[in-house]
Symmetry: C2
Subunit: 340 residues, 2 copies
């Protein structure tokens, strides 16, 4: 590891020899790719594509280690997914660390190894980075900002804004909702649960490649992170000329997640996911896409959860199990701070 230091010192963020040691013995060692090896201020990349997707996310999750993942894995998955849902192929990532003085070097290495493993799984390289260290109590352990570049094919149709959506389109999701948020809550409160609660944190670019290969009538994709499924659905209906019906019966919610939500007074539809993508596809291709999703390890529990309708334009309705319906709106504030 980085010299004889078992904890992060202010000097590790100085730009001097301690910084160089940390870069060599930790980041370059584990992220291990030719661009990063050069250790220049900017990575030089050959990208033949003329259209790129570009996205950034800051990760401040608390706790930094949780069942199913950690802040490092999350930082890779989150940025990979934001690129993938835009229809692009994720290629390169940057990683900027803000670390609290005194943070255990062992924990940092565990996080860096987790990032390296997830990047390898997702097929992306972490090619450039930065490390800043702040005095004790001036940040909470470690924050990581990842930024990603993805390549778009020439024939690419913009599916990020949902402009192609029309009544009759179906809404799919690749499995259960609320797992990430409740896994974080259980870890934060050190709850003793009979069934362990795992975050769904995963890089979805493989699954998404299956989806876009199966149909050219995919009209929208979005990963349902902060604000949960409800926030994506609400955004998709607001100021649109059509309405949305979501079928509550089709929503898959893990029993432990449901129980914890009831206990804490949360609605699972608003709880964060980190491995769930909402897909809108033309009605005639819905079954084809569903089958393609179900073949992927992160899509086995995929399902059709709703559709776009000509009725109640601008509103999303949840058709409840007991037979009524209620409007799916966006939350004003924060259910769960520092969920990602």
């Amino acid at each position: 590891m980085a010299g004889n230091n078992s904890r992060i010192l202010l000097g590790h963020g100085s730009g001097g020899s301690l910084t160089h040691e940390l870069i060599d013995n930790l980041f370059v060692k584990h992220f291990n790719n030719p661009e990063l090896d050069k250790q220049t201020d900017a990575a030089l990349l050959k990208i033949p594509h003329k259209q790129l997707a570009f996205t950034t996310d800051a990760f401040v999750v608390d706790p930094i280690f949780f069942p199913g993942g950690d802040i490092g894995k999350l930082a890779i998955c989150g940025t990979v997914n934001d690129i993938a849902v835009s229809g692009a192929k994720p290629l390169y990532l940057s990683a900027a660390f803000i670390i609290e003085e005194g943070f255990p070097m062992e924990d940092l290495e565990r996080i860096v190894i987790s990032m390296a493993e997830e990047a390898k799984k997702a097929g992306v390289s972490i090619v450039t980075g930065d490390t800043k260290v702040v005095n004790k109590d001036k940040c909470d352990k470690v924050f990581i900002t990842t930024t990603g570049i993805g390549a778009l094919e020439e024939k690419y149709v913009n599916i990020s804004e949902g402009n192609e959506i029309r009544p009759g389109d179906k809404i799919l999701i690749n499995g259960s909702i609320g797992d990430h948020g409740m896994a974080i809550m259980s870890a934060r409160n050190e709850l003793k649960l009979s069934a362990p609660l795992l975050s769904d944190c995963a890089s979805l670019n493989g699954l998404i490649a299956n989806i876009t290969k199966a149909s050219d009538k995919v009209h929208f994709m979005r990963d349902a992170t902060r604000g949960g499924l409800a926030t994506v659905i609400s955004e998709l209906s607001t100021n649109r000329s059509y309405g949305i019906n979501i079928d509550e019966e089709q929503l898959l919610i893990d029993e432990a997640v449901r129980g914890m939500c009831e206990l804490l007074g949360f609605d699972p539809m608003y709880v964060a996911n980190e491995g769930k993508v909402v897909v809108v596809v033309a009605g005639e291709d819905a079954e084809i896409v569903l089958k393609a999703m179900q073949k992927h390890e992160f899509g086995e529990d995929s399902r059709i959860i709703g559709e776009f309708v000509g009725d109640h334009p601008g509103k999303a309705w949840l058709n409840t199990i007991i037979g009524g319906n209620r409007i799916i709106d966006m939350l004003a504030g924060e259910q769960l701070p520092r969920i990602c």
Copy 2:
């Protein structure tokens, strides 16, 4: 501004309607460009160039407002400069904010306006971003991570590693050293100085374009930030087959910076700059490049400060005003934490 809230709430980082309000009324309003307006998770960019430069930096400077700039201006300049010194033209930036709950909205707007102004000056667009809010005392006011993409011409020669450097090459810098670090120190300690001490924080891509236009024998460029001029010089000599001589008499140090360094026990060669670029150019083109630099507003005080020599390989010597010489080495630790 963002609704009726005069301070940042946890809800502003929730992904819900408060977040949307903040994005609309602050970021989209001031950063103002078609890519950001779409508010998709990833910005979609058309970049015809096949080679790109990609860089990231986290900014944690304390205090966030200082004479000559603020954390927002710094976040733009720092990333623009890292791209420009690689020989690329900076095009697009992302910005990720980590904000402490309770941070004044007024201060955030001031920072965002400062970023927008500097981006405009530098000719770059802030096309994507993220906002996270952490509970009070879990970060120090605001941290900003900017990541940039720059375009490299096809005929581009890699000047980031200095592989073309040979004895006889001259070393130039575009003015005085140590200004940024000492401006931060004076602001931090609220020192009452007779002459005001300003950070040199500036986007250098215009100056750098002048340099690369003036000569095709530029062999290296690097902005001398954390660790100061000495760290760049030390990196340029370590493990190389040549030596470096720096002429102390040629180093321009502002009187107030010199005084403050003496008072605090700092060596100005190790103090951070945020608007200074170290340029290595073949000896025969040194005067041409010097004149090109001096014509630019950020290069008026440019000078030749040293050269590469066949002697003392692997070592950089400072030839001092009093006639001796001493080795320029890298500092192990931290002179000034949170300088950028």
